[in-house]
């Protein structure tokens, strides 16, 4: 079963397609990294799934049921743009309101449970407006976690967080999927962080989903390369190009793509009288993969 299944979803604002015939599938239990540049339609898609926006066309199914099904939607938690809390109310009061909204019976215990997950137990009495950005993001997650949601939709939850905050957020997301069985749809610009936790990816551009794959598929598609440094980089590139197909100068390094045999590259350079000062075998990461994909689309 899929947690989210979207077919032909379209949403326009003043004649401009924000989401254009989008098809998307998020399997149950996945951490689905939703990637795209600013204005590509990520947040709009998430708002459509949560019922905040009304679609022009298309179909959204959550766990095999229409997204307007009250039984499913009560099990959806969301953090979209902001936590959606009353600034003059305390963290506890905001969580209590959400707990009441969801009809949770043991509200006090449930609030303590989610505060513990987001490591905010000691800040329950703090007014929401007094919280730092990182705390507000974590409160937003806590709100979304109330009532044991089956699906979490998180829009840029790590934006503005420091390194430690990002690590905590990462641990929380992994914890809720592995231990609570929750499915997570998460959008973020910080692809390096996303890469550490996502099990699936969806890449959106100009409102269309241009690629969807699992982390395993992504790994298989990622190109291998050897990066190295020599004394005379330009000469070394010429030498390498005589033997290898794809040699480039990128980020102050020579990169030889699609070659796993580091030894043969180093030997070839040494035979040509070039000393190698640094050498490392790498794989194209999500960020580079994304940039390359976007460049190809731009060119097309």
């Amino acid at each position: 079963m899929n947690a989210i299944e979207i077919k032909g979803l379209t949403k326009s604002f003043r004649g401009m397609h924000a989401v254009d015939s989008l098809n998307m599938t998020v399997p149950v239990g996945a951490i689905y990294g939703f990637i795209g540049e600013n204005g590509s339609g990520k947040s709009t898609t998430e708002k459509l799934i949560c019922g905040h926006l009304v679609p022009d066309k298309g179909e959204i199914k959550l766990f095999g049921k229409p997204y307007t099904d009250a039984g499913v939607r009560v099990r959806v938690g969301a953090l979209i743009e902001s936590a959606g809390c009353f600034p003059n109310s305390s963290v506890y009061a905001n969580l209590m309101m959400q707990a009441l909204n969801l009809g949770i019976k043991n509200r006090a215990e449930e609030i303590q449970r989610v505060l513990k997950i987001v490591r905010m137990e000691d800040n329950a009495k703090l007014k929401f407006k007094k919280c730092s950005l990182g705390m507000k993001q974590r409160i937003g997650i806590a709100m979304a976690l109330l009532g044991n949601p089956a699906l979490l939709i998180l829009d840029e939850p790590i934006n503005g967080l420091d390194t430690d905050g990002m690590r905590i957020m990462r641990e929380i997301i992994v914890d809720i999927t592995q231990n609570l069985g929750c499915t997570v749809l998460i959008s973020s610009h910080i692809l390096g962080e996303l890469e550490k936790i996502a099990t699936h990816y969806g890449i959106i551009r100009q409102g269309k989903l241009i690629q969807e794959m699992s982390a395993k598929e992504m790994d298989a598609r990622s190109r291998v390369f050897v990066s190295l440094k020599t004394g005379d980089m330009q000469e070394a590139i010429k030498v390498l190009k005589s033997k290898f197909d794809d040699v480039r100068f990128e980020d102050d390094y020579i990169r030889v793509y699609d070659v796993e045999d580091t030894e043969s590259i180093v030997k070839h350079l040494l035979d040509s009288g070039h000393k190698v000062s640094e050498v490392e075998k790498n794989k194209v990461g999500l960020e580079e993969y994304y940039i390359q994909l976007m460049s190809k689309k731009e060119e097309a």
């Binding site: 079963m1 149950v28 239990g29 708002k47 949560c50 019922g51 905040h52 926006l53 009304v54 766990f63 049921k65 997204y67 307007t68 099904d69 009250a70 039984g71 499913v72 939607r73 009560v74 099990r75 959806v76 938690g77 969301a78 979209i80 743009e81 902001s82 936590a83 959606g84 809390c85 009353f86 600034p87 003059n88 109310s89 009061a93 209590m96 309101m97 959400q98 009441l100 909204n101 969801l102 009809g103 709100m143 044991n148 089956a150 999927t177 609570l180 069985g181 929750c182």
Partner: protein, 275 residues
């Protein structure tokens, strides 16, 4: 990874959904100062009106405006055309305060972004309309009570007589209570149209709550009971000559308008984005 218990989705009944929404609204109502401020205002206004604090020397205005302490609560007869402040300055003013309060309450739902939480978990938008209507009606009934207490204290302080037909008085007060439902639904409807722009909502609620359109219509077509089909008309009809029929008219009017505004409000919420 699929957890079977995790993937069981029980259909919440209408009452369960409504209970959840009402729970949030009433928790917020009692845990923020908004209601208490309006209860205080509702108690203070009749005191100010009856004690002549709104103009002239103390007590001098009152003598002309009221001949009975209960006129602070309701007009002596159903007068849609206003000839003096005494016809107008009674418990109907609660509906103006109620409009402002509901506008602020709903406006903050949208402004804070909390409405996103509500609409994420409540697929049925009617829950929002009904809950806000019930909350508004409850608040206005509470304001009616504090208005009544304020009015009675003020009436006693100014030495006005309390002589009245008890049945008519009860019917008038109950009529005002009942009309709160219709008014609350109107204000909720206005607020789901204007959302976070609650300055516009407040202005519109104020204009409608003061009854200006009905007073204006009465000036043209005369003091006719036909105006009872409107919320302000029925609210005026609940006066010190009220009887059981008044209650029936108020009830029918209030419920019918509440249904109309709730249906229209739900349609708007279903058709429009919540931002």
């Amino acid at each position: 990874m699929e957890n079977k218990a995790m993937l069981q989705f029980d259909q919440p009944s209408f009452f369960k959904r409504l209970k959840g929404m009402l729970g949030v609204d009433f928790y917020r109502l009692f845990h923020t100062p908004l209601l208490y401020i309006f209860l205080f205002i509702a108690a203070l206004i009749p005191a100010l009106v009856s004690m002549g604090a709104m103009g002239g020397e103390e007590g001098a205005e009152t003598a002309g405006m009221f001949s009975n302490a209960w006129q602070i609560i309701a007009a002596s007869k159903p007068m849609y055309i206003i000839s003096d402040m005494g016809d107008y300055a009674n418990m109907n003013m609660v509906y103006i305060f109620g409009g402002i309060m509901i506008s602020i309450f709903i406006g903050h739902d949208y402004k804070s972004g909390y409405v996103k939480q509500l609409f994420t978990t409540h697929a049925k938008k009617q829950d929002y309309m009904i809950s806000k209507t019930m909350l508004g009606a409850f608040s206005m009934v509470c304001m009616c009570v504090t208005y009544m207490i304020g009015g009675m204290i003020a009436g006693a302080a100014t030495g006005l007589p309390f002589k009245i037909n008890a049945g008519s008085l009860i019917c008038a007060i109950l009529g005002k209570f009942i009309m709160s439902l219709g008014w609350a639904s109107l204000y909720t409807f206005i607020n789901v149209i204007f959302r976070s722009k609650f300055g516009i909502s407040i202005a519109l609620c104020f204009v409608l709550g003061t009854g200006i359109p009905i007073i204006g219509a009465a000036a043209v077509i005369g003091n006719t009971p036909a105006l009872n089909i409107f919320l302000y008309g029925s609210s005026v009809y609940a006066c010190l000559t009220s009887n059981a029929l008044t209650l029936v008219i108020c009830l029918m009017n209030s419920v019918v308008w509440a249904v109309i505004y709730n249906v229209l409000g739900t349609l708007i919420l279903n058709k429009r984005d919540c931002y």
